[in-house]
């Protein structure tokens, strides 16, 4: 295959970026999208040009490190597939492919296609956990968990934190990510004691990071490589409403994200 790539190049956070066009001949349809970029980079280095920086690690679709907007779609054209699991057989000989980083205020570009997603970590640090000091746990079977609850919790827990939901959202909202974590923990009996506080604190942090509000476009679900459902967003609305009504606002709650 021979492809033309339009790639976003940006030296660092402060520099201005621009698209640069590259000719990419001799691409095998068996290559993954990232292996195609490896080949392009090897050739650039051969010519003395800086290779394209992009984030990647496991290349098995589970670590959530890779992420780029490919022809306008986060992770590219294939549904439920991360960029590392996308193969070049999804493209045609002669195609032009535009490759950009995630675009969101809360995800500043560090270089080329690499962005800073530490805002997600701070949302988890604010409340995306169950407090269970090491050594304090009862026997694993002491608290029974109905199978459907465990299964639904696992559905939500499958989120890989890649940020495609934010990149896909016209408001750059992080509601899918945040609500999936709230649902993963809130569906389990172990997650009940902190459920209200979790909703309040995670939403407040989400707002503080500069993510936009959810206005029900549901682009996030369409772009999600793990097919996380927007039903969790509705669940987080309910948790948040209930928490605001039943708990005094001592946790610095924000309003925007659930608008």
């Amino acid at each position: 295959m021979r492809l033309t790539l339009n790639v976003w190049r940006q030296k660092d956070r402060k520099s201005e970026g621009r698209f640069v066009t590259y000719d990419a001949p001799d691409i095998s349809p068996d290559m993954s999208f990232l292996e195609m970029l490896d080949v392009v980079n090897e050739r650039l280095i051969g010519k003395g040009e800086d290779p394209i920086a992009f984030d990647h690690d496991c290349r098995e679709g589970i670590c959530g490190t890779c992420g780029m907007v490919i022809n306008g779609a986060p992770h590219g054209p294939r549904r439920a597939t991360t960029a590392c699991q996308l193969h070049m057989r999804s493209f045609k000989d002669g195609d032009t492919i535009t490759i950009e980083p995630w675009r969101a205020t809360a995800f500043p570009v560090l270089r080329d296609l690499v962005v800073d997603r530490s805002a997600f970590d701070r949302i988890i640090a604010a409340g995306g956990f169950i407090t269970a000091p090491t050594g304090s746990a009862p026997d694993g079977n002491a608290i029974l968990v109905p199978k459907p609850d465990a299964d639904h919790s696992m559905d939500a827990a499958a989120c890989i934190g890649c940020g495609a939901c934010v990149a896909a959202c016209p408001n750059a909202s992080a509601m899918l990510f945040t609500s999936a974590k709230a649902a993963h923990l809130g569906l389990l009996p172990q997650g009940q004691p902190e459920r209200d506080e979790r909703a309040l604190k995670m939403v407040a942090q989400m707002d503080a990071e500069g993510f936009g509000s959810c206005t029900n476009h549901f682009e996030c679900e369409a772009a999600c490589p793990k097919e996380i459902s927007v039903e969790w967003i509705a669940r987080l609305y309910r948790d948040y409403m209930k928490a605001t009504l039943t708990r005094p606002a001592d946790t610095g709650r924000g309003e925007g994200g659930v608008g």
Partner: protein, 637 residues
């Protein structure tokens, strides 16, 4: 130097209890006076950092990824072992201990393995409490499945994403401590040097991978939990960023490197498609519960699998190992695949493949049941190969997956450098010459949640640790050495890319030090690797500068270390004149082609001491005693 493993006295089931009582404690008010560095944020490092912070220590945690949640523990699929005996099928702590020692081909330290089996039950409780959504039965109890090398069902799992869920549990506990200010997290930071003062590990030098800034960090104890070194082989199931730099820097500062030749080759990975291949993808061992492995009986049979009748198929694992069948340990399954392929009966375009066939299980259980158990794995297979495994048998082939070797540690998980503890895959401790499936997650979490929190206190309480700062000459020297190395790599400006060197090293290691090794081949590798290393330092091309995000520079530093470590792997394999577990020397096999150990001469850990660049390292021994599980020819028939 004699290697003292510091194994406590007494009967094996009492050792850990007694040791916990005898170890010194740091009182709660004093814990906040100690600073601990944890390098790596996977199951071992993440669990350790979170737990030590809960206890009150000041923790700094470092990872090269953009978030601690991305450590490669996340990719573990199948499950985690624990001796809960919830299935009432005869499991016990002793049986898990027995299976693990036997599975490791009698090359592990018994006391460590027993402790691991004891702690395994606490791990499951801890993870459930954190909200890990383990698979459940309809009554609400935890579900189990079976895994290689065991005849009981003791593996707990969360679909095919067990590692991910366990890591998220540790990560969330860690993030809570970060939010509380007890852990300072340094993502996108790579440790490039260990700093020693007065013979103790007292800090590290790191490079900020975004700004290129070289920084020093002081501590009273340094914990390395940086994973294994399998990426020396280039093509492996590891994440692309996994590297040995942290443990290699520690080795060069005096930490002994134990059993580097014990590398694990996983039997069920997706075969290679071409030279562009950047990594190999694992298909979980759990698939061997329901998939049947076969090849055609005839050589060079190129018919599609559905046109090969039942009586012309060789289910070679079921035939050779009727007791364990498709669930033999990984080393045995990998070698058997190589044997049938060497006989010309491999499948797929390259002949480097065997079938993993689910048609019987689909007939027996129905497609929905198979989809519920393995759906995400089947989807992944289809995305990569463009073949539907519900219809066509999977093609699988062995690949480098784990390293049982690593830095030598004593029973307290301390290396030969005082104040340097090593956890998880980065140490050598529990798996002997072969790791059983679902035991890596168990070991990482055992080390992080339940071992280091006790043993670190003993070290800190019994050591004199005068206050030092980053202005100490040892830090300045280490910073200068790191800076010099970065500049040296950038200044070569040769003709070859870093990846081209890495691929070449990987080919040498796979050919001469992979599934089957010989003295002659290893000697060849020991000539080729130094030559390749010399060429690397002459003609590698690293563009860009050191003061910004530079992925070529990061890779170059790691490959430079692999080029040294690769030589040590081969040297260790050459010295170990026997076959055991993942280390198979063609000269040492039984008439049936099984590994033949030499217990008289090799019932020991080989621990290598660095003696200087260009000089042969010294091989030390830690003798192993098997008082409970008596070495026998490992049989899975």
């Amino acid at each position: 130097m004699t290697l003292d493993a510091k194994v406590p006295a007494g009967p094996i089931e009492k050792k850990w209890d007694q040791h916990r009582f005898e170890m010194k404690l740091v009182n709660p008010a004093n814990k906040r006076k100690y600073n601990v560095i944890v390098v790596g944020s996977g199951l071992a490092g993440g669990a350790a950092a979170a737990t030590l912070a809960q206890l009150g220590y000041n923790v700094k945690c470092f990872c090269y990824q953009d978030s601690p949640r991305r450590a490669h523990s996340i990719a573990a699929q199948g499950g985690i072992n624990a001796a809960k005996n919830y299935q009432n099928d005869g499991d016990s702590i002793y049986r898990l201990f027995y299976d693990t020692v036997k599975g490791g081909d009698f090359r592990a330290r018994e006391a460590n393995v027993y402790r691991l089996a004891q702690i395994s039950v606490n791990i499951i409780d801890q993870c459930v409490a954190q909200g890990v959504p383990f698979a459940r039965e309809y009554g609400g109890t935890l579900d189990n499945r079976s895994f290689g090398g065991a005849q009981v069902s003791r593996t707990f799992y969360a679909r095919g994403q067990t590692g991910q869920q366990l890591l998220l549990g540790a990560y969330q506990a860690l993030e809570k401590q970060i939010g509380l200010g007890k852990v300072q997290m340094y993502s996108r930071h790579e440790m490039l040097e260990l700093v020693m003062i007065d013979g103790r590990a007292r800090g590290i030098v790191v490079r900020d991978m975004v700004t290129g800034k070289i920084e020093s960090h002081v501590a009273d104890d340094v914990i390395l939990a940086t994973g294994g070194y399998g990426n020396a082989f280039y093509l492996a199931t590891y994440a692309k960023g996994c590297n040995a730099t942290a443990i290699w820097r520690a080795y060069k500062k005096g930490a002994y490197f134990a059993n580097p030749c014990y590398t694990q080759i996983h039997p069920t990975c997706i075969p290679v498609t071409g030279d562009h291949q950047s990594k190999l993808t694992l298909m979980s061992e759990s698939l061997r519960n329901d998939g049947r492995i076969w090849v055609p009986k005839k050589k060079g049979d190129t018919r599609p699998p559905d046109q090969i009748p039942e009586d012309e198929r060789d289910y070679y694992l079921e035939r050779r190992y009727p007791a364990f069948g498709n669930l033999v340990p990984r080393d045995i399954a990998s070698r058997a695949a190589k044997q049938v392929s060497d006989e010309g009966r491999g499948v797929g375009p390259t002949g480097l493949g065997v079938y993993l066939d689910f048609s019987d299980a689909i007939k027996r259980l129905g497609q929905p049941v198979i989809a519920e158990k393995y759906g995400n794995l089947f989807d992944m297979y289809e995305r990569i190969t463009d073949e539907n495994p519900y219809k066509v048998p999977m093609r699988i082939w062995p690949a480098i997956h784990y390293t049982m070797g690593g830095l030598w540690v004593d029973y307290n998980l301390m290396s030969t450098i005082p104040g340097l503890h090593v956890l998880g895959e980065a140490n050598f401790s529990d798996h002997g010459a072969n790791r059983l499936g679902a035991s890596a997650l168990m070991q990482g979490l055992a080390d992080g949640y339940f071992v280091i929190p006790y043993t670190i206190g003993d070290y800190l309480a019994s050591s004199s640790l005068p206050k030092v700062g980053t202005d100490h000459p040892a830090f300045k020297e280490a910073e200068a050495s790191v800076d010099g190395r970065v500049k040296k790599l950038l200044a070569i400006n040769g003709t070859r890319t870093v990846d081209s060197f890495h691929r070449e090293l990987g080919k040498i290691l796979w050919e001469y030090c992979g599934m089957a090794r010989t003295a002659e081949g290893l000697k060849t590798a020991l000539e080729k690797i130094p030559a390749l290393r010399e060429e690397f330092w002459k003609s590698v091309r690293v563009l860009g500068d050191g003061a910004s995000l530079n992925q070529s520079l990061e890779k170059a530093g790691r490959v430079a270390d692999f080029l040294e470590l690769g030589e040590l792997i081969c040297r260790d394999a050459l010295e170990r004149n026997e076959s055991c577990g993942g280390h198979f020397r063609l000269e040492y096999q039984t008439p049936e082609g099984e590994a033949r150990r030499d217990d008289e001469h090799f019932t020991h850990v080989a621990a290598w001491q660095y003696t200087g660049d260009g000089q042969a390292p010294t091989r030390h021994q830690e003798p192993l005693a098997f008082e409970y599980v008596h070495p026998s020819q490992r049989s899975y028939k």
